[in-house]
């Protein structure tokens, strides 16, 4: 596609063309009006001059008679820039003046003749009939005096006509320059707009083709294009982030479900190929059941997270005694921790109550204890549960003695299916679903609180923060 048709196709250029046409029409009207006015003025002025000349000549005629008149006309005819004069006899033959010949029929009229007529100058050799349209033209007053003798006093029209044509030409030239200049400016403006739109369109095409990292160009002019591009860029950025999140989750889902599915399949295949006895098949089926249960558990966790995150898990907040939960769950986890060579210490005292749901808070604390038991007992050591009761919030903490989570990873581990490399590669027994902390974070969000991860030096401290103003009326007793 050539540049010109595209320029013409822009709104700016189309509007400009319309504007030029309107402007041209107005200019044309102005030219017509101005020249008409000018011509009118010249004619009126000519008539006045001719009439005053006639007045003078009439005086001379009255005082000096015909002879004087003729002599005076001869004298006046020779002056530079003279009027046109003719004294003709009854048959139309010139007796005096600077007109040699005149259009036939003119002398038969009398009075002011505003319609221009052709004439030949005195001494002109070529006859008037042959001069035709090239003959000079004039307007004149025809006055009969005596014995059919007529005096013609008039003015040559060469000057006004030249004036008019000069004026028409200069106005036309000015208009043409204006028109061409306008077209050029509009072309450049339209082209500039087009270039920017082309850039935006090219970037959009890339985005549509799937490259969400692409951004629309933003110049530093801060004009309407830039404002539009900036907000579109923000939108694309948001979409990119959502898309990345979605892709990450679906990749993880694919990966996390593919692994147990593959194992499931392998077991079935192995049983078919190598199983001899009922016992072998039973064994294989049990293994497959375990894998299926594992997948169901992953799905359940995912569903719970998305329900909690979407706010679908509605519960009526009621007072929940978190000290009791801490006692119960320490009790639940004590054997696991002891088997792993560690000890669990519950320092949560008193009778702390928060607003919320006992099951969800229990689930959250279970996940934290589970993580602590799996990853937080690298060299044996201690898992400590403690609580802090401050003016703003009640905080329940689980501290372990493991390697902790590097600062850079603390935000990432809250995302779904994120397992730190260390935990991914460690043995089968401690392989988690990568959903535990995401679920805790989601539960805490539903409780209008938060999950904080901190460095325990050594180990990880995970804190469940229940703000006192959550659900407007959190209460606690000591």
């Amino acid at each position: 596609m050539g540049a010109l048709p595209r320029v013409i196709n822009t709104t700016a250029v189309r509007l400009s063309a319309m504007f030029i046409i309107l402007f041209g029409l107005c200019a044309l009207l102005i030219i017509v009006y101005m020249t008409a006015m000018a011509a009118n003025f010249v004619i009126r002025e000519t008539r006045t001059a001719v009439e005053s000349e006639l007045g003078e000549l009439a005086d001379i005629y009255v005082r000096g008679g015909f002879r004087f008149l003729v002599r005076d006309i001869e004298r006046r005819s020779r002056r530079p820039g003279a009027f046109v004069y003719l004294v003709a006899d009854a048959r139309g033959r010139p007796l005096a003046g600077n007109i040699g010949d005149i259009e036939p029929g003119i002398l038969d009229t009398t009075g002011w003749r505003s319609l221009p007529f052709h004439y030949a100058r005195a001494g002109e050799i070529t006859p008037l009939a042959e001069l035709g349209g090239d003959a000079p033209r004039a307007v004149a007053y025809i006055l009969p005096i005596q014995n059919g003798i007529r005096i013609v006093v008039g003015r040559d029209l060469a000057d006004p006509v030249r004036f008019r044509s000069v004026m028409q030409r200069s106005v036309g030239l000015a208009l043409s320059i204006m028109g061409i200049g306008g077209m050029m400016i509009w072309f450049l403006v339209g082209r500039r707009a087009l270039l920017r739109i082309d850039a935006v369109a090219a970037a959009s095409d890339n985005i549509i083709a799937g490259d969400l990292s692409q951004r629309l160009p933003v110049s530093n002019a801060n004009d309407e294009f830039d404002r539009l591009s900036t907000s579109l860029n923000l939108m694309v950025g948001r979409i990119e982030k959502l898309n990345d999140g979605l892709r990450e989750v679906s990749d993880s889902i694919a990966h996390d479900l593919k692994t147990p599915l593959t194992r499931l399949r392998n077991r079935a295949e192995d049983a078919i190929r190598n199983g001899d006895s009922k016992e072998d098949y039973r064994e294989a089926l049990h293994g497959m059941l375990g894998e299926a249960d594992n997948m169901i558990a992953i799905f359940n966790a995912m569903l719970l997270i998305s329900r909690v995150e979407a706010g679908h898990t509605k519960f009526t907040p009621s007072p929940v005694n978190i000290s009791e939960i801490a006692v119960d769950l320490c009790d639940l986890y004590e054997p696991v921790v002891e088997d792993a060579g560690g000890i669990i210490v519950n320092k949560v005292s008193g009778d702390l109550t928060v607003q919320g749901n006992r099951e969800l808070i229990g689930q959250a604390l279970t996940n934290l204890l589970d993580n602590a038991a799996k990853y937080g007992l690298a060299d044996g050591g201690q898992i400590t549960l403690s609580a802090k009761d401050t003016k703003d919030a009640i905080t329940l903490s689980v501290a372990d003695a493991g390697h902790g989570i590097p600062v850079t990873d603390r935000k990432r581990v809250l995302e779904r299916f994120v397992r730190l490399d260390a935990s991914r590669t460690s043995n089968e027994k401690v392989r988690g679903s990568g959903l535990g902390l995401s679920l805790v974070a989601a539960i805490m969000r539903q409780h209008q609180g938060s999950l904080e991860l901190d460095d325990g030096q050594p180990g990880l401290i995970a804190r469940l923060v229940f703000p006192r103003d959550a659900f407007k009326k959190t209460s606690s007793r000591n």
């Binding site: 089926l285 049990h286 059941l289 375990g290 249960d293 169901i296 558990a297 799905f299 359940n300 569903l303 719970l304 329900r307 679908h312 898990t313 509605k314 519960f315 009526t316 119960d328 009790d331 639940l332 986890y333 054997p335 696991v336 088997d339 749901n357 099951e359 969800l360 229990g362 689930q363 279970t366 996940n367 589970d370 027994k429």
Partner: protein, 223 residues
């Protein structure tokens, strides 16, 4: 055991009926709330499996109306919702247990069998006995072959629940629910560790195992 399944999803209902049949239980199926309510009123069943979301009449309405009419047939509510408050409303409406879809059939069967036992009024016993192991609920004593076994309170509750449901499979989720009173899926091996500790206390020095692991399902106390 004769069971009524009220479930509008035909394939699930048929699967349940078939699986229950294989476990030795007869089952009838109703595919909507109204006919389910009708069948529950007219027939005699040992337990009901009721889906929460049903055409014409919801599962909770059926149970509430049955209870009002004095029908105390144990009812297990099935729900696809699985929201935390649902369990509470379900049990408040008169349901005896609550299970979220998707569920493992072994879990459903285990719960159904303990429900049925509860319905038969086994709660009142003070003495549970499995083989030579005896648990006294009043004196809180546990003896095996006349040797006293010292258990921690939590271990006692665990054993008590297992022995009350002797010869029936109990799942890990059921143990977490009844011994610790929490209703979420226990993490992988938490319950197993408790069981193995209990097992070592009641079986150490004795020949005959009493506490058996049922793979893919849970545990059972059996002579």
């Amino acid at each position: 055991m004769k069971i009524l399944i009220i479930e509008d999803d035909k394939p699930s209902a048929d699967y349940l009926k078939k699986a229950l049949g294989e476990a030795g239980h007869g089952a009838d199926v109703a595919n909507d709330g109204a006919s389910g309510h009708n069948m529950a009123q007219t027939g005699t069943y040992d337990a009901l499996i009721v889906d929460r979301m049903l055409p014409e009449k919801s599962g909770l309405e059926i149970i509430a109306e049955l209870r009002e009419a004095g029908d105390m047939t144990p009812a297990l509510i099935l729900s696809a919702l699985g929201e935390v408050d649902d369990r509470v409303t379900g049990l408040r409406a008169g349901g005896d247990d609550y299970l979220t879809k998707p569920y493992a059939f072994s879990e459903l069967l285990a719960r159904l069998e303990t429900l049925q036992r509860r319905g038969a009024g086994a709660e009142a016993e003070t003495l549970y006995q499995v083989g030579d192991l005896v648990l006294n609920r009043l004196s809180r004593e546990v003896k095996r072959a006349d040797q006293t076994i010292i258990l921690q309170p939590r271990e006692f509750r665990l054993l008590e629940y297992l022995m009350r449901n002797a010869d029936r499979v109990v799942t890990r989720t059921m143990l977490l629910e009844h011994v610790w009173d929490y209703h979420f899926d226990p993490q992988t091996n938490v319950i197993d560790v408790h069981i193995s500790r209990l097992r070592s206390k009641i079986e150490k020095g004795f020949d005959k195992p009493l506490l058996h692991t049922v793979r893919g399902a849970g545990y059972v106390m059996r002579e």
